[in-house]
Symmetry: C2
């Protein structure tokens, strides 16, 4: 039984996610800031392109947002012609953007004013996860809205979890990125040291990856790191955005993140090397080029 849904933001994540909604039989209205991408979507999917977010949202039971930053979400949801203007009472706004917990709380307040629900629902799993419908979704918000959205979220998610009230999904995503920052810099330093010390780094990884040094990043990124290939994966500029959110939130809640703060600075040096679009594993490039 298809729902009427809107999908706002057809980037590398949103495009395949909206595609899964169509495939599951939902009646999808799409909108994208660059309209050519929306036209490309409707040319290949049974869906309609709306002229504004508000128009897409009108009559929809679920309004999904997947854009870049807090400011983009504000514009697409709260701005002129924004989704909020079309949000029906009883509908649920689902923001897949990795954004601040503060924004998530504000969106929930604004949705509630219109008799609608709101969930913050950042994802992990990357472009491949979006294409394969195998994303992880970390959700914050009220339980009734979560329960209603869950079956629809399963269109593109392998794992969906509500972690608490509005903002909790965003905070959980920040925990994810903080852990990754430490793992990746440790791995980069380990591989860089192996090279500098004249070891066969590939052989070393083969040995140590079965024990206490093992990580998803070691298993999945050491080869490309050793080869210096970074034209894939999750871009440095997006990681810096996410670490910026985590560091700002840490200031508010009084957490200390010495290594996350340092790694954010190291990514700044990767950007200075021309690596804004390189995968996050490119921390090793900075160590090599000093």
């Amino acid at each position: 039984m298809g729902e009427r849904v809107a999908f706002l933001g057809l980037g590398v994540m949103g495009f395949p996610m909206a595609g899964h909604l169509v495939q599951r039989g939902h009646e999808v209205a799409v909108w994208n800031r660059t309209s050519a991408r929306a036209e490309r979507f409707v040319a290949s999917h049974r869906a309609r392109a709306a002229s504004t977010p508000a128009e897409a949202a009108r009559g929809a039971s679920f309004v999904f947002v997947c854009v870049g930053r807090d400011a983009d979400v504000r514009e697409v949801v709260l701005g002129e012609g924004g989704a909020l203007g079309g949000l029906a009472p009883g509908a649920v706004l689902v923001d897949h953007t990795t954004a601040s917990a503060e924004l998530a709380r504000e969106l929930e307040a604004r949705a509630t004013e219109r008799g609608a629900g709101s969930l913050d629902a950042p994802v992990s799993g990357g472009q491949a996860g979006a294409e394969q419908g195998a994303l992880t979704v970390m959700v914050g918000g009220a339980e009734p809205a979560y329960d209603r959205a869950l079956p629809v979220l399963r269109s593109y998610a392998r794992q969906v979890r509500r972690l608490g009230p509005a903002g909790s999904g965003q905070l959980a995503k920040m925990v994810n990125q903080i852990c990754i920052a430490g793992v990746l810099e440790g791995l980069a330093e380990g591989l860089h040291f192996a090279e500098a010390a004249g070891l066969d780094a590939e052989a070393v990884v083969d040995v140590i990856s079965k024990g206490a040094a093992q990580s998803w990043q070691m298993d999945n990124r050491h080869r490309t790191m050793l080869a210096g290939e970074f034209d894939h994966g999750f871009a440095v500029e997006w990681m810096r955005k996410d670490l910026g959110l985590a560091l700002a939130e840490a200031r508010r809640c009084g957490a200390a993140l010495p290594v996350a703060a340092l790694v954010d600075q190291l990514y700044g040096e990767v950007e200075a090397l021309g690596g804004r679009r390189w995968d996050t594993s490119s921390l090793i490039a900075r160590l090599r080029r000093r």
Copy 2:
């Protein structure tokens, strides 16, 4: 077919390792700085206690060393009554101590002078790995010595790998510890942030541990970290010793280890909290107690 072997150093690692050698039918002579421990060993194993390392080494085909630091190895092997004095031509000295690559090269040179072989062979897998005979052994040294030692090393190792000439085992172990330093501090900061932000940290780990933030440490240490239990595992003072070796070697080979150097300092703060004997995952205690 049992070999005549000597085992020098019956600490939490050496004691069970020597036990596996006895079980495999080798003729074992043991020596320990605190002789009570050697007496305890021979009371429960078919083995003999030697009065000096040299006496233990005399007539042995393999002489295993498993002590604390470079200085201990020097004393036990090169000092008065040290193993070198008893090392037979054709025997192989196997140092399981995590020590410097420089020392490994020196030991090989000294063993070679006596017509013997030498391998640096630091292990990972901890006390549990030693007890279960499931250690990983990272070996540096000449191939003939390695080929001869391999069947004996398998007495307590699940994984044995030669990584290059003398010192390569030590360097590989340093890579392992560098990676772990980053992983553990990232995990500690992530969990600390989750707590400070009011999240259910256990639920967050449950979600993110299936993706790019996953690590052996996350899988195996997050519960005790959240519970503040650190009376197990690998002690902070030993991790600092290992990071000290890595940082000194990095100076020599020109590698940059900004996070490993920082984490070494953070461990210093854990020690100041009384945590010298706490597990390495106690980095979170420092974040909590600021």
